[in-house]
């Protein structure tokens, strides 16, 4: 678990993975294994694994198995029907598509808007207007969201945005302060000389951004992308209050179905949570090495 290749160079091909691992092992020769720290890590990893185990076990229990014992026991017999029932009850495909629509557009929108804003501000830092606009954007982070939600609902309804499109719009807008903050620090570290050489070759500002800056932002894109993904995939409050048509509602809101005031259908709820969690896990597994590489990149500056 601790063996992430901090010093090994990133290798481009997956087939090389075994080789990389071998390199890695030889590179670690001479290290002493810190057993205390490893044990601590193992215990710490339980904070993730144990809830995950409960989620899976709960999703496979029948209602009469739920209250029994400590909850640690694996259900027997295993009750697979929960997934089917949750799938039907939530109208999963429709809710999933709606959530995917919101998430994909929020991620793309956040990446595009925030990086453009950050580039413009970072490269015009000497002008008062741009410095001021940065402070203006940052100040938005100090306004608690629940305070402005009802005015926002009124406003979006007037604009015909009381649907998933409006949620996307607000996600992109709401993320702009924090994402720009991340990007600006990164853009600053990119030497202006790179851009100047491109300009000498006749590149326009847009081309410079598209061909030089944006690709160099890759690690930060991954970070921002993951924040935007998690934020919009898991968001509850905004879709709950913004989306007027129940047929377009997103998964986290639809899953409320399993939670009445006094009745909670735990097994169906957890089965449905697991199904909703799957894309998050996949994205995390795919994107985590970019995040880690991004962390490294910032560290050696």
């Amino acid at each position: 678990m601790t063996a992430f290749p901090l010093t090994a160079r990133r290798t481009p091909h997956d087939p090389d993975r075994p080789a990389l691992r071998r390199n890695n092992r030889s590179g670690r020769e001479g290290y002493k294994v810190n057993w205390w720290l490893t044990a601590l890590m193992l215990v710490a990893s339980l904070t993730v694994l144990l809830p995950l185990y409960f989620t899976v076990a709960m999703a496979l229990k029948s209602p009469d198995q739920i209250g029994t014992g400590t909850g640690l026991a694996w259900p027997s017999p295993v009750n697979w029907e929960n997934f089917g029932a949750a799938y039907v009850a939530t109208d999963f495909p429709r809710a999933f598509m709606s959530t995917a629509f919101v998430t994909v557009l929020s991620v793309l929108g956040s990446l595009a808007c925030s990086s453009l804003v950050a580039y413009a501000i970072a490269r015009n830092w000497n002008r008062r207007f741009f410095r001021g606009s940065f402070v203006y954007l940052l100040s938005a982070m100090f306004i608690p969201f629940p305070v402005i939600i009802l005015p926002l609902i009124k406003q979006t309804a007037l604009l015909g945005l009381d649907n998933p499109g409006g949620v996307v719009f607000l996600h992109v807008l709401g993320g702009i302060s924090f994402n720009t903050l991340l990007y600006i620090a990164f853009v600053r570290s990119i030497p202006v000389e790179l851009e100047e050489s491109a300009r000498l070759d006749g590149a326009t500002t847009w081309q410079v951004f598209r061909r030089i800056i944006f690709p160099l932002l890759a690690p930060m894109n991954a970070t921002v992308g993951i924040f935007a993904f998690l934020g919009s995939w898991n968001d509850f409050l905004l879709p709950q209050m913004m989306i007027a048509d129940p047929a377009l509602q997103t998964l986290p809101v639809v899953q409320m179905l399993f939670q009445g005031e006094f009745n909670t259908n735990y097994s169906l709820a957890f089965a449905s949570y697991l199904m909703a969690m799957a894309p998050t896990l996949v994205v995390y597994i795919l994107a985590q090495r970019w995040v880690l590489s991004g962390v490294m990149r910032g560290a050696v500056k």
Binding site: P12, G67, V104, P164, I243, P246
Partner: protein, 435 residues
């Protein structure tokens, strides 16, 4: 500056990911574009939005709606259980057409602001039991006379008991406080927990022992009417105060708490349901909402309910009720005629009685059939005779942390402090909201 990441060669490049994401995005847009918000009337079909407050009966109402649509082909009904969207709907000036809500303080706020249309001339209004309708009106009426909501389901709560445990110990359902205490003693002597306590969830103390004992000892509605009339001028020694009225309730609360199992303070509602369903106690102070959970945990459990006797006169025994669902039509709906037809259908005896029989609740109609569900038959006599009250906890504004006060009283047993805290809280809220 380190090298540009050689992502182009990696098997899953950013570009490929973006492409895939773009495709997924496009695929997501296409089906959604088809079902954008349609106008409420299309080809002569009116679309009604029906916001319903109980997620656990969504499937039931889907069937009801299907039957309604078959009889009324010119109306389409969309069910929404996302109650959190009600206020945003009002802000958008596009609220759902027909609404069901649990009727208490929060809903009464909407009523007082005139959110709902007047249904007093609705034909179904005359079929409702006036005593049940009074429960709704008791929270205040718009313009002093309007009928903003018609009750659909009346939930009655008392003591849930395990019939098997009662029969095994030869204990009859108690009808007086002394009989009740004697029954508890008998269970205790036999090594059976008399009452399963779930004190960790403070609301269970509130709706359970506090509401039952207060409702059985004093006229709750009258007390709060006088208290509210007194306004911010209330003091502890005034005859309208909590201190002056709730004194006799408190020793009985402690008596009930003492009949709970050891470790009740660390058990919550879910623990209680699991344990009681397995026969680990004789009685459980919960309402009908717990019945389905108990049966889910043990389908063979035989349950019954009775109203908690608080005095030694059986005629005083009352049940705690709440209007679990009340039907309203929003005032500004453009589909008033269709909405009224839908409400008529829902309040048709066959529909409303079937719902309540199925969901362990009582029908609000004057001519409701006798309840057949053995889990709640024990409460039927009180409900039919109108011997009931709405829980004292429901009268408190949400800004008073009442349940925490009740919990700390049960743990700390300091009654004077508890009641004077309630008096203080009530006065503070009255001062803030005085007009």
């Amino acid at each position: 500056m380190s090298a540009i990441p050689p992502s182009r060669e990696s098997p899953l490049s950013r570009r490929a990911l973006f492409k895939a994401a773009g495709l997924a995005g496009a695929a997501a847009v296409l089906p959604l574009a088809g079902c954008g918000s349609a106008p409420s009337s299309q080809n002569g079909v009116t679309t009604l939005r029906f916001m319903q407050n109980k997620p656990e009966v969504v499937a039931y109402f889907n069937r009801v709606i299907k039957d309604f649509e078959a009889l009324n082909p010119d109306i389409r009904v969309i069910q929404d259980f996302n109650e959190g969207n009600f206020v945003p709907g009002l802000v958008r000036n596009d609220p759902p057409d027909v609404v069901t809500r649990g009727f208490a303080q929060a809903t009464a706020d909407f009523v007082r602001k005139g959110v709902f249309a007047d249904l007093s001339d609705h034909p179904a209004a005359a079929t409702i039991d006036p005593k049940v309708q009074d429960l709704v009106s008791s929270w205040g009426r718009y313009n002093g006379h309007e009928t903003s909501a018609l009750p659909f389901s009346l939930a009655a709560a008392g003591v849930i008991y395990n019939r098997d445990v009662f029969e095994a110990q030869g204990v009859a359902v108690p009808t007086t406080w002394d009989e009740f205490v004697a029954a508890c003693e008998k269970f205790k002597a036999a090594g059976i927990t008399p009452i399963y306590g779930t004190f960790k969830d403070s609301w269970t103390l509130g709706q359970g022992m506090f509401d039952y004992l207060a409702g059985g000892s004093l006229d709750v509605a009258g007390f709060f009417a006088k208290l509210t009339a007194k306004g911010a001028a209330i003091s502890e020694d005034a005859k309208e105060s909590f201190t002056s009225n709730f004194g006799p309730v408190l020793p009985k609360m402690l008596e009930l708490a003492a009949f709970s199992q050891k470790g009740a303070t660390s058990k919550n509602y879910a623990d209680g349901n699991a344990a009681f369903a397995k026969g680990q106690a004789a009685m459980y102070l919960q309402g009908p909402w717990a019945l389905s959970q108990l049966v889910a945990a043990n389908k063979d459990v035989r349950l019954g309910s009775f109203p908690l006797p608080v005095t030694n006169n059986p005629a005083d025994t009352k049940a705690r009720v709440n209007v679990d669902m009340a039907l309203s039509i929003t005032r500004n709906t453009p589909n008033m005629a269709a909405a009224r037809r839908f409400v008529s259908y829902l309040l048709d005896p066959s529909v409303v009685n079937a719902y309540n029989e199925k969901n362990a609740a009582f029908s609000p109609l004057k001519e409701a059939p006798a309840v057949e569900n053995p889990q709640i038959t024990g409460l039927a006599a009180s409900v039919r005779a109108g011997r009931y009250y709405q829980g004292a906890t429901t009268y408190f504004p949400p800004s008073v942390p009442l349940y925490n006060y009740i919990q700390s009283f049960v743990y700390g047993k300091n009654g004077e402090q508890f009641l004077s805290a309630l008096d203080d809280e009530w006065r503070r809220v009255a001062e803030r909201t005085a007009v």
